[in-house]
Symmetry: C2
DNA sequence: TTGTATGCGTTATCAC
DNA sequence: GTGATAACGCATACAA
């Protein structure tokens, strides 16, 4: 009924050459004479031959694939990054494996699984949770150079990292609000164990101090980047006796749902409350009022990370430089920020 | 400096057994005596052995991986589905490969690449664009049973398909608006080559007819599921001399940006214009006014598709049943729909 | 430029 | 219940 898959020997036979020649035609066509090369390609066409990846991988000790570790695939912030990572690797003949690191298995586990059993040649992790122990393990296997952080990172572990300039982003947000005249600014944070959340919060505090603003403890509202945490934050904010006139949110999702809830409670944005987000996800510009936010160039982040890893996979095991690259951020002023009431 | 990776022979040596026994310990532990099994596992632990996937794959002629073909990874609608597909396969020892079918290469090409070269055992495609030719190709290779449609599908190609009950969804949307008293209803479509867009539009038209409503040609506004197409649609809608009092949008993203643009133009939602979306993406409930929409259970869709494919991969090449499963949809009534003005 | 021969690391078949 | 060994399909060192 169905033909058995053609193997390299079949092609060789049809082309009247050896298997070595067929193999060379595939991997280093330059080394063949024009004539045989043509014969081989013709034979490949007529037989419908496809290289068996498992065999090639076994022989070359490569996987031809990379793993992308994504914290919460459902989050649109990450999926666009994944998309641009995919573009780069697809263009270079690599497959892209994904794994949602919210899965029960810890990131450490997943990374070592894929790397050590040869399922992936390298890893881009969008999840900053990786242990120092894992670092040791990787180093011992000389696999340290095959892992790259993107967006998030870990202070416990020195690895190449592509990230947005988060400190600048937080500074731009605070300065923007201050320039509008706000003196009472709240902050809705990300998860306390998240490196981005920590940086943004810490810069927020520093920058407020820099401007001589004091921050009531109540004004630091815990969140976790999600929509629902934004709604909860809004409720806490609204209930405050001494309510801030502005709020800097650690993510756009927080900001958007906070705005929605605040509006439902009768607060006007930006007249009663100014809001700044972080990320500039696509919908930020398509709500009303449109969200003022800090833009991260997600496509660029993904591309940079992919190219960094690609370079490492293709270059010889050179001295371990550990570059940290910062992607630019930008304040996008839209319509959720204005001078404070009564000014 | 670094130890060479332990191979199965190393484990066998340490455990004092043959490689065959080690292999059996890994794949069919029941067939070993308690004692040797323990010895082998101990040896695996002490050596730090990991099965080499390429070798196993070559030998077993399986990939232990599936490909998910996603049209536009950046779209949050798909990423949650991907997430639940990932969960199912991760739990069953499969890796998940992703490919953004918006890439230059056509879906056909990608699917045949991955399947024919043994990179993937099966494919879940969220992209309905697949040719009948491709179907023939797959059938000839007896690979037809390894492809499953999810969400979208193709009429040209009979394959198992997991999809939402789109006709019901569109009907619920129209009926809801009619029940509120609307008689002039517009529709913003998806891309004309998209099967979902076509179904939703056609049911919209049928259902309007059923209710005795006529639809002006202007009221069918072309879109493409995206935010920006929603904004464009809003402008066309606003400019209409005889403006509908309600609009059924083929996606939530269309609906949300349409609302935003309409509001900016001074229209009140839902007082002046009622809006129904489709999908119930997460943010739909976190904007103000919250979006009335048709919920698709994305996690369920992904899970069902994954389980369908998993079953096919694990079962013997049984008679080719081609099930089409419908996931339930549901009208989620929120705050963007109300009776038409003056009623 | 091309061919020969070996081995990548595992599983499966067949013995015992 | 366990061991010896061939085979999976390819790329490469070496020879010609």
């Amino acid at each position: 009924m169905q033909m058995p898959k053609p193997r390299i020997t079949d092609v060789a036979q049809v082309a009247g050459v050896s298997t070595a020649t067929v193999s060379r035609a595939l991997t280093q066509p330059d080394r063949l004479s024009e004539k045989t090369r043509q014969r081989v390609f013709d034979a490949i066409r007529t037989t419908g031959y496809r290289v068996n990846r498992a065999a090639r991988n076994l022989r070359t000790q490569r996987a031809g694939a990379v793993l992308v570790l994504v914290p919460n695939l459902g989050n649109p912030f990450f999926s666009l990054i994944l998309s641009s990572i995919n573009d780069v690797f697809a263009a270079n003949g690599y497959s892209v494996l994904v794994f949602d690191s919210q899965q029960p298995s810890a990131p450490d586990q997943v990374v070592s699984d894929y790397l050590f059993n040869g399922s992936a040649d390298g890893v881009i992790t969008l999840d900053g949770h990786m242990s120092a122990t894992m670092g040791e393990t990787l180093k011992n296997a000389d696999l340290l150079r095959n892992v790259v952080f993107c967006c998030e990172w870990s202070d416990k572990l020195l690895l190449p990292s592509i990230r947005s300039d988060n400190p600048l982003g937080a500074r731009l947000a605070v300065d923007h609000l201050v320039a509008l005249g706000h003196r009472k600014i709240a902050h809705v944070t990300g998860p306390s164990d998240n490196i981005l959340a920590r940086v943004r919060r810490s810069v927020f505090e520093d920058r407020c101090a820099h401007h001589g603003l004091s921050i009531a403890p109540d004004w630091i509202i815990p969140g976790d980047f999600t929509l629902s945490s934004g709604a909860r934050a809004a409720e806490r904010l609204i209930a405050l006796a001494d309510r801030p006139t502005a709020v800097f949110c650690a993510s756009d999702e927080i900001a958007l749902s906070l705005i929605s809830r605040a509006q439902q409670a009768g607060l006007r944005v930006p007249e009663d409350l100014s809001v700044v987000g972080f990320d500039d996800i696509e919908i930020a510009g398509h709500v009303s009022p449109a969200l003022t936010t800090i833009r991260q160039d997600r496509a660029l982040l993904g591309r940079m990370a992919a190219e960094e890893l690609l370079g490492r996979l293709q270059s010889d095991p050179s001295p371990h430089a550990v570059p940290i690259s910062f992607a630019p951020v930008e304040l996008i002023t839209r319509s959720t920020t204005a001078p404070p009431p009564g000014r």
